[in-house]
């Protein structure tokens, strides 16, 4: 029987990982992820979860433990934030290159220097090119459900998945969450089968040095070179779109909730202007859309759920009727603009979709963003677009003078 509990985002993630039957957890505590690491260790030490909690001295080691455990066939879980994630950076590439279905929660937090413990998404978005799938959540129910979905996706495509949610905004905010039935989760999520079994009877050297060219082994088999391996990872992420959508559908069938697959839409059908964002800011944008509609502006929202693989077909379809798009991003690519804004424009370039795209940087380091402020920014953008200004980056609620 599924039941409702009022819980924080960190608790929801921990319930998701526990229901997924993780076997090895290695995590190093960092604000705002700490509660999540604490609950996992309590669950294991208290005998509620049959798993090994490996205490490590750093995030780099946490990911190394996950890589090793996943390689030998364990379902593994870890979580981190901000500078902790950045300290893992090298091992993130390794986990993806080794094609290990590790699931990690990134509890999004701004990156130092200067120090901040508060929320933005610079941490995970700066890890865009590590080869991990990135799924972002807009509320605590989605966190719990997405952790479970993430294992099914990861273990099908053999690519690690980062489940990201906004620090404090979701990690520390309590709200009602349906806890799915453990038996139903087991049915939804079959046991993990590693792609390679290491055994003394059949020894192998995994991830050895590869060369620019392909290579014939002693049995005369032509083996992939480095570039072929890179292509396979690229193709795996490209193909993950279908698996992500199929998984969300299967989840809806089993549990009665769907989260949009690659992206979710709010009042987009007749929308003249569409607000887009990643995570909780996109949820706030739905309230802004309501406010705009009260004023006669036909506004809708596209929430980017999956950032990698980028939902290129999906945004083309969702934005096809819009005259204007405004992105609200809690991260920035220094020297250019918000990464979502760039990716979105690239996805629309040369297609039928002719919407002007304006970018808004908002909420860095926990700066509060209210729905009415989003709505004001949209109205200002619409006026600029009417004046023929097709490109713009605005820093919302920031004294830039």
């Amino acid at each position: 029987m599924s039941k409702v509990r009022i819980m924080t985002g960190n608790q929801a993630a921990a319930v998701g990982a526990t229901l997924s039957g993780v076997q090895v957890v290695a995590a190093y505590p960092i604000t705002p992820q700490s509660q999540l690491a604490e609950i996992m260790s309590q669950q294991i030490e208290g005998g509620k979860l049959k798993a090994e909690y490996v205490r490590v001295e750093s995030e780099h080691s946490a990911m190394t433990v996950c890589i090793s455990a996943s390689t030998v066939g364990a379902r593994v879980f870890t979580a981190t934030s901000a500078n902790g994630l950045l300290y893992m950076h090298e091992q993130l590439h390794w986990a993806a290159g080794a094609r290990l279905p590790i699931v990690m929660c990134c509890v999004n937090r701004g990156v130092g220097a200067p120090w901040t413990i508060f929320n933005d998404q610079q941490d995970s978005l700066s890890q865009r090119d590590t080869g991990w799938l990135q799924i972002y959540c807009r509320n605590n129910q989605e966190i719990l459900d997405t952790v479970i979905q993430a294992y099914r996706i990861a273990e099908k495509v053999y690519v690690p998945v980062m489940v990201c949610f906004d620090g404090f905004v979701l990690s520390h905010t309590m709200m009602p969450v349906y806890i799915p039935d453990a038996g139903a989760v087991r049915k939804f999520l079959p046991p993990y089968k590693p792609h390679t079994i290491l055994s003394p009877e059949d020894p192998r050297n995994i991830n050895p040095v590869l060369f620019p060219g392909r290579r014939e082994n002693t049995e005369g088999v032509l083996c992939d070179g480095y570039m072929e391996m890179r292509y396979k990872l690229f193709a795996a992420l490209d193909g993950a779109r279908d698996v992500i959508i199929e998984t969300d559908e299967a989840f809806a069938e089993a549990f009665g909730r769907r989260h949009g697959g690659m992206l979710w839409e709010y009042l987009t059908e007749d929308a003249d202007v569409i607000l887009t964002g990643i995570g909780s800011i996109a949820s706030e944008a739905t309230v802004a859309a309501d406010l705009l509609r009260e004023e006669g502006v036909k506004a809708g929202v596209v929430g980017i759920r999956v950032f990698r693989p980028f939902p290129k077909e999906d945004v083309r379809r969702a934005l096809r009727k819009a005259r204007a798009v405004v992105t609200f991003e809690k991260a920035v690519s220094y020297g250019y603009e918000g990464g979502l804004c760039s990716d979105l424009k690239a996805a629309l370039y040369g297609t039928e979709v002719k919407a002007a795209v304006h970018g808004c940087i908002a909420g860095l380091g926990g700066r509060d963003v209210k729905a009415r402020e989003l709505a004001e920014a949209v109205k200002a953008s619409l006026a600029d677009i009417d004046d023929g200004r097709t490109e713009k980056t605005l820093w919302l609620n920031c004294f830039t003078g």
Binding site: G21, Q43, K50, G97, P194, T196, D202, N207, N217, D224
Partner: protein, 108 residues
């Protein structure tokens, strides 16, 4: 919180051998390195201690060979398919039984 997840006996068969890069340990997996050699070791069995004493002794060439291509037999043998010609064996031989000879020159 949910009950303990009980695993059924899972099917541990492998799915796809070529998803990640790997090689199996096999002779010659990295290519025949013997052709890297510019000079080769030649053993004078009239000086080599195991050959003289006709029993397992010394074998320092076997111990020091960085490539593992020396076989501790009587007489001592070197696998020329993989010997890179580094000369460590000749340097370490206490009875000066091993000489490094330029490739292309005769053994004598």
């Amino acid at each position: 919180m949910p009950d303990i997840w009980e695993y059924e006996e899972s099917d541990m068969s492998k799915r796809d051998d070529s998803i990640s890069a790997m090689c199996t340990p096999a002779i010659g997996e990295a290519g025949k390195t013997g052709d890297w050699r510019s000079s080769r070791p030649v053993i004078d069995h009239s000086k080599c201690i195991p050959s003289l004493k006709k029993k397992p002794a010394c074998f320092l060439c076997w111990l020091y060979c960085p490539e593992g291509v020396v076989r501790a037999n009587i007489p001592v043998e070197i696998d020329m398919d993989y010997c890179k010609g580094c000369g460590v064996c000749a340097e370490e031989c206490p009875s000066k039984a091993i000489t490094m000879v330029r490739e292309g020159a005769t053994d004598e």
